[in-house]
């Protein structure tokens, strides 16, 4: 049952990812990525991480991807790749490297994980429940938690700084030196 479910969701995830990669339309890419994230969420569930399942759906699927779609559609940046590729050699070389990377990564992880027993038997029912996660988050991982707050603060400042200035001071002169 589990294995079957795994293969189905894995297939969905892979298909979503590959479709994201090859879609010429950015909106389609975003939707396929959404599919991929959904499949990932299910995999988290399979791995006994219900909390991450929720987060994946709310944050990634619910917020980040929506933002992506929003930006793509409002900017009208669906199809920027209609112009001919200026560095055409990049694509075959990139694919070659990708294959190489996949080979290396798969070899490493296979060799690394092959000898492992199947996921550690039966876990306690409480494994991975949100409370346990929360407990860890506020004890052992308290410092990273607080740092995260600072990172988010910086992000807020960044968004405001990068997009507010046009309003206060219109560019006085055309960009120089380009």
């Amino acid at each position: 049952m589990d294995v079957l479910l795994f293969f189905v969701t894995a297939a969905v995830a892979l298909v979503g990812a590959i479709a994201m990669l090859v879609s010429r339309n950015a909106v389609h890419s975003a939707l396929f990525l959404l599919l991929n994230f959904g499949a990932m969420a299910v995999l988290y569930l399979l791995l006994q991480s219900p909390f991450l399942f929720t987060i994946q759906l709310t944050v990634y699927a619910g917020a980040i991807m929506v933002l992506f779609l929003f930006v793509v559609m409002l900017l009208g940046a669906e199809q920027v790749e209609d112009t001919p590729d200026r560095i055409a050699w990049q694509r075959p070389l990139g694919i070659l490297l990708g294959v190489g990377l996949l080979g290396v990564a798969a070899a490493a992880s296979l060799r690394g994980a092959a000898g492992q027993p199947a996921p550690g038997g039966e876990a306690a029912a409480s494994f991975g429940n949100p409370a346990e996660l929360g407990a860890l988050l506020f004890t052992r991982y308290l410092l990273p938690f607080e740092i995260t707050g600072v990172i988010l603060l910086v992000a807020v400042v960044g968004v405001v700084v990068l997009n507010q200035r046009g309003r206060q001071q219109a560019p006085a002169k055309p960009p120089a030196g380009d």
């Binding site: 200026r86 560095i87 990049q90 990139g94 990377l101 290396v104 990564a105 490493a108």
Partner: protein
């Protein structure tokens, strides 16, 4: 003699003060020249006082070490910022400050009216400072400080007239060639530190703690080897060979001498000071200072000997065929440096230093004399356009004659004694091939000096586009002083067993351990006869054939020697060979692979290599296409390599 401990600091610091004032305060020509000359003269006076004080000490304790502060202090790595005065340093300091002061004074006249003259004197002062650090440092690091410093000043001064393209090119060439030597020198320092744990020359006592000096610990490395087991290299050989490469660059030895003749693009007083009397002798000084290291490696010593002898011969022949009055002297300098290096290779360090000192005097004289000629003929350097100047500039002529005779080795002038000592050593050590080479070279020396004197001062003036005149007092007085030095300098180390005869040998004995060369009367007579004969021959050929010398024409000797003359004129095509065998392939490679070439490239070995590197750099930057995807691609290549390595490695 406690006062010496602080007194010797004044020697380098006075010119440094002059430099700083000239950079930051002085803005006008006259005070700049007076200040610069005054500071160097002051340093000379201090040096004299200090050396007299040093001479008052018993011979075995004639080494004043003075530490300013602990420069580096980290665990085992201790380097004091210290200078010293010992007999070897003393003679070098006297030469540098003495000749330096005269050249500063001379420059006041020579550089008069130059728009950037304040800067000129600042550079000159900085040069003197650095040269003094070079010879006074009590450890390799200070020596290196001076080494780099003089290189820098030389670079700035060669390119001083940067409006002239040749000057800028020559400066770059000198710089790049010297980098090769400098890199070897740094490696030698690393190796010395790794082998001995110190860079001090001698034991230094600082705060009651004695820091060891590597020159007194040579036996520690005897028998030690480095490198692969099938081809081990003795540590002593490795270190001394690296030092030799360093000296080869700085002292313009084969195969790195190509920069020195071009360096004549600088103002003539600079050529006299830096490229004849002082800086180029730094390599010889350094080898003499570390003689005990060199003495432990027979392999290196024979390299030193051969390099010196070959350089002497090649440069000597090249000097014969030059038309430019300064290039003759430049090749002659290379040749004489070859004598000194060869002497080092024979273990005759005192002879090397002796020749260094006398050469410093008479070569400075010759350069300043040629400067006076150039000055008096309105920037004429081609000897074909000169002739008959002895009546127009008598002082210059007579002093030049003294210098030329000294260089040619005419008894009893300075050059005779020092050169003869080197030859005598070659004879008594049984270095026959080198003896023959050096003897031939000394004959050539006499010949080309005779040729030069004839071309410049005898016959008729061949070009009347200028009105020759004698230079002013400020220039001729230094000439006269140097002429006296060139005439009497040999008295320092006469090969006779009279009281004070071996003065220099005795004086240097605490530092350089060498028996005075055996005076060989037959050799001396032969050499003198040869010098006189060849000098006369040179003079005779070119006064007799003066009418055949045409502006822009071939040399009269061309008739007899044919193409060989061309070879000599081009210094045996070494530059051309570099061009063909090193530069051209590099350039072909570069040209083949790079579409666009820097259009304002410069010919020559170094520029070719430089261009090759620039081309590689161009490749580096070509990949920098501006496309972020390409950057990610390169990144991924790196990832693959790293991970691939891990995978293969852990198989």
């Amino acid at each position: 003699m406690a006062y010496l401990n602080w007194l010797i600091w004044l020697i380098p610091l006075l010119p440094l003060l002059g430099f700083l004032l000239n950079v930051f305060v002085v803005r006008r020509e006259r005070p700049a020249g007076l200040l610069a000359s005054g500071m160097v003269l002051g340093a000379f006076v201090v040096a004299v006082v200090a050396v007299i004080g040093l001479a008052g000490l018993p011979a075995e304790s004639r080494r004043i070490m003075s530490t300013g502060w602990q420069w580096i202090s980290t665990g085992a790595f201790q380097v004091p910022f210290g200078i010293m005065l010992d007999p070897l340093t003393a003679v070098m300091v006297l030469l540098v400050t003495g000749v330096g002061a005269l050249i500063h004074i001379y420059s006041i006249g020579y550089m008069h009216g130059d728009p950037r003259v304040v800067r000129y004197f600042a550079y000159l002062n900085l040069f003197i400072t650095m040269m003094l650090f070079l010879v006074m440092g009590n450890n390799l690091l200070i020596l290196f400080l001076g080494w780099e410093g003089v290189g820098l000043c030389s670079f700035l001064l060669i390119g001083y007239w940067f409006e002239r393209r040749s000057a800028a090119e020559a400066a770059v060439k000198a710089f790049v060639v010297n980098r090769i030597g400098d890199a070897a020198f740094i490696l030698a320092m690393l190796a010395i530190f790794a082998s001995f744990g110190t860079l001090n020359f001698y034991d230094v006592e600082i705060g009651g703690v004695i820091q060891p000096g590597f020159l007194e610990r040579i036996p520690e490395i005897l028998g030690r080897t480095v490198g692969p087991s099938w081809q081990p290299i003795a540590v002593a050989t490795g270190i001394s060979f690296l030092l030799l490469i360093g000296a080869t660059g700085k002292s313009a030895q084969f195969p790195l001498f190509v920069w020195l003749p071009d360096a004549m693009a600088g103002p003539t007083p600079v050529s006299a000071l830096i490229h004849a009397a002082t800086m180029v002798t730094a390599g010889v000084y350094m080898m003499a200072r570390t003689e005990s290291l060199f003495q432990e490696s027979l392999a290196t010593q024979s390299w030193v000997l051969w390099i010196g002898a070959l350089t002497a011969l090649i440069a000597g022949t090249a000097a014969v065929a030059q038309w430019d009055i300064k290039r003759v002297l430049a090749y002659s300098t290379v040749s004489q440096l070859g004598f000194m290096v060869a002497a080092c290779g024979m273990g005759a360090y005192v002879a090397a230093i002796f020749h260094l000192l006398t050469h410093g005097l008479f070569k400075a004289l010759l350069f300043l004399g040629s400067g006076s000629v150039i000055h008096g003929t309105h920037d004429t350097q081609d000897m074909r356009r000169m002739g008959g100047l002895r009546t127009a500039m008598p002082t210059t002529f007579w002093t030049y004659l003294v210098g030329a005779a000294a260089l040619a080795g005419i008894v009893p002038l300075a050059g005779f004694w020092s050169k003869d000592e080197i030859l005598a050593h070659a004879l008594s050590h049984g270095n026959w091939p080198q003896l023959i080479i050096l003897f031939l070279t000394s004959l050539l020396t006499a010949f080309y000096m005779g040729r030069q004197v004839a071309l410049v001062f005898y016959g008729e003036q061949r070009d009347h586009s200028y009105h020759a005149h004698e230079s002013g007092r400020v220039m001729t007085v230094p000439l006269l002083i140097l002429a006296v030095g060139a005439a009497l300098g040999g008295l320092m180390n006469l090969p006779f067993s009279i009281p004070g005869g071996h003065w220099l040998s005795d004086w240097l004995n605490p530092v350089l351990h060498e028996e005075p060369g055996e005076f060989n009367l037959a050799l001396a007579l032969l050499a003198t006869a040869g010098a006189v004969g060849m000098g006369y021959l040179g003079w005779w050929v070119y006064t007799r054939n003066a009418a055949r010398v045409k502006v822009g024409g071939k040399d009269p000797a061309y008739r007899y020697t044919g193409d060989i003359w061309d070879g000599m004129e081009e210094a045996w095509y070494l530059d051309a060979a570099y061009n063909r065998f090193v530069v051209a392939p590099f350039r072909a490679l570069g040209g083949f692979l790079a579409r666009v070439f820097d259009p304002q490239g410069i010919d020559g070995l170094v520029m070719g290599i430089g261009r090759f590197f620039t081309w590689v750099g161009g490749g580096v930057r070509g990949l920098q296409s501006g496309y972020v995807r390409t950057y990610a691609l390169v990144f991924t290549v790196g990832v693959l390599l790293v991970l691939g390595f891990v995978l293969i490695f852990t198989r």
